[in-house]
Amino acid sequence: MRWLETSPERYDAGMRLITFGRVAHLHAGVAEAAVAKPGDRVLEIGCGTGAVTLRLLARGARVTAIDQSPDMIEQAKSRAGTADVAFLEQTAAEIDALPEASFDAIVLSLCLSDMSASERAWVLGGCPRILAPGGRLVAADEVRAPAGWRRVLQRLWRLPQAALGWLLTGALSHPLADLGGELQRAGFALRREQRWLHGSLALFVAEPSA
């Protein structure tokens, strides 16, 4: 969804529009899966305008939110107000600077599909180190719909969206072909999977495999 990011103001409205409002379900699902109990330390990679951040905070989490866009962080910051959250302007590639075993959950909501394959592998591979024992990773993103009519529907729906995105500058994001597999290759065991919008939005809950 990179083209929407060129303006934080239109990001939220745009995401709601192209997911027919399902993005709200995804945000709620992510927050619910990430926060087991109040006081949990959650790292949110790619917080954007803070839609998930606010939901994490509402569930009592202590949040560290990173994003590489200063505009996005500004937006998220003003929405979060005085809540218990630290915003860091940095890239996902810099999570190797975070202390070991320092988070109960890591959240990646709609940001993996904006990364290149090597970037995803590097970021996901760095996650187990910073998770505390018993910690979990929650990854939600646009994924390739299951084969058959649903994938045809997804392709048709993406066509005007892709054209618009291409015209309005910024690269195109591609639905992830095998998010579950990438999580497993990065050293995670899948615990739960949930899908919306004919299977084109997916949420995975995973834990580092022993």
Binding site: Q68, D96, S116, S118, A121, L167, G170, A171
Partner: protein, 375 residues
């Protein structure tokens, strides 16, 4: 290259030049040129396909690592100034591409025109890689890699005929498509003349504009109106001819108003308000690091006689790209208005060049902060 590959390549060259207003992304990541080893140079560029293909061609017969960073499929100059190729993308590419496992050194060569967006000091702080800004033009890369010395010619942007025509094509092609389609619909007979008019106007603006002196806008505009009226008259009037007569000068004045729209670092682009701002150098703060000298596309800086401080010797050439301001490790450069207001370096680092005037947001407490906030 086989004949088919060459045709395909040429076709891509044309399309990507004519429609370079739109992004043409290629897959980011690490690529090999020749047979690079642990001591081979590491070059980094954005993922605008045309640039990457030209780079690979220019370095044929050499061994180097090419790191393609995600710049949204946009060329280096536009992506760096617009925030698509910034420290973030460079750090990400350096850390996640696996290049650190391939080479024994930690020096990466970037195009000089990336200097408006990629902060060399930040890249080092965040990745331990040292940034060198290479030549402006990738055609100078072979010589630069040989000598590792950037000559004065390599650091200065020129605008030769070939580049001028390419930029003219970039504006003419999409415009001709739109106007041509409209003409085809309303008055088919006018399609080709309309397209020819747009092409001629783009070509003349880009080959003549900056050579006409101070009255250039008036000269070109008058000529175009005269041309359009002549065309209308020769076609015995009519609604279509009249439309063309209106559309053509409108297109031309748009082109002129845009002042090349940043198509080249030769003119300041469409930042009208910034005309009243200029780069200022705080001589007391300058410690002679000469990053400004290395990154200025107009070669505005010189060294003083002792070689200890930079001098802003040719500020009449300055296009306010901001590269010197954001790269200076001593914060000795900033933007200053004629009224004495300042935009501090960090504001420029943050908002880049073209984020629709956001650069004017002055840090609270800074001189001129109240005025800027009231905009």
């Amino acid at each position: 290259m086989t004949a088919t590959a060459r045709v395909k390549d040429g076709l891509l060259d044309f399309l990507q030049t004519a429609f370079r207003l739109f992004p043409w992304p290629t897959e980011p990541g690490l690529r090999k040129i020749g047979r690079p080893d642990a001591s081979s140079p590491v070059l980094l560029t954005g993922n605008f396909d045309l640039t990457v293909r030209r780079l690979v061609k220019a370095l044929e017969g050499r061994d180097a690592w090419l790191l393609v960073a995600p710049s949204g499929g946009i060329n280096v100059w536009c992506a760096s100034s617009g925030g698509h190729l910034s420290t973030h993308q460079v750090v990400t590419a350096l850390k996640t591409s696996g290049i650190a496992d391939q080479v024994s050194h930690r020096q990466v060569i970037l195009p000089q025109l990336a200097a408006t967006g990629v902060l060399a000091l930040d890249v080092f702080r965040r990745s331990r890689w040292q940034v060198r800004f290479g030549p402006v033009d990738l055609r100078d890369l072979p010589e630069y890699l040989e000598t590792r010395e950037k000559t004065d010619a390599m650091r200065r942007v020129t605008f030769p005929l070939r580049d001028r025509l390419q930029m003219a094509l970039m504006w003419a092609a999409p415009t001709a498509l739109v106007i041509g389609a409209l003409a085809l619909w309303l008055a088919p007979g006018w399609t080709l003349p309309c397209i020819a008019l747009v092409a001629a106007m783009s070509a003349s603006v880009f080959t003549l504009y900056d050579r006409l002196g101070v009255r250039r806008r008036e000269i070109l505009l008058t000529t175009s109106i005269a041309l359009a009226l002549a065309a209308t008259w020769s076609a015995d009037g009519g609604a279509a001819a009249l439309t063309a007569a209106v559309v053509a000068p409108a297109f031309l004045s748009a082109l002129l108003t845009l002042d090349y729209a940043g198509s080249t670092p030769l003119e300041g682009g469409s930042h009208f308000e910034e005309r009243s701002w200029h780069i200022a150098l705080d001589e007391a703060a300058c410690e002679g690091v000469f990053r400004c000298f290395e990154v200025c596309p107009e070669a505005c800086f010189e060294r003083d006689d002792a070689g200890r401080k930079a001098i802003l010797a040719h500020d009449e050439r300055c296009i306010r790209c901001g590269a010197c301001v954001v790269q200076c490790p001593k914060d000795a450069l900033f933007l200053e208005s004629d009224a004495g207001e300042r935009i501090p370096p960090d504001t420029i680092r943050r908002f880049k060049l073209n984020l629709l005037g956001k650069r004017k947001i002055v840090a609270p407490g800074a001189p001129g902060a109240n005025r800027a906030a009231g905009r």
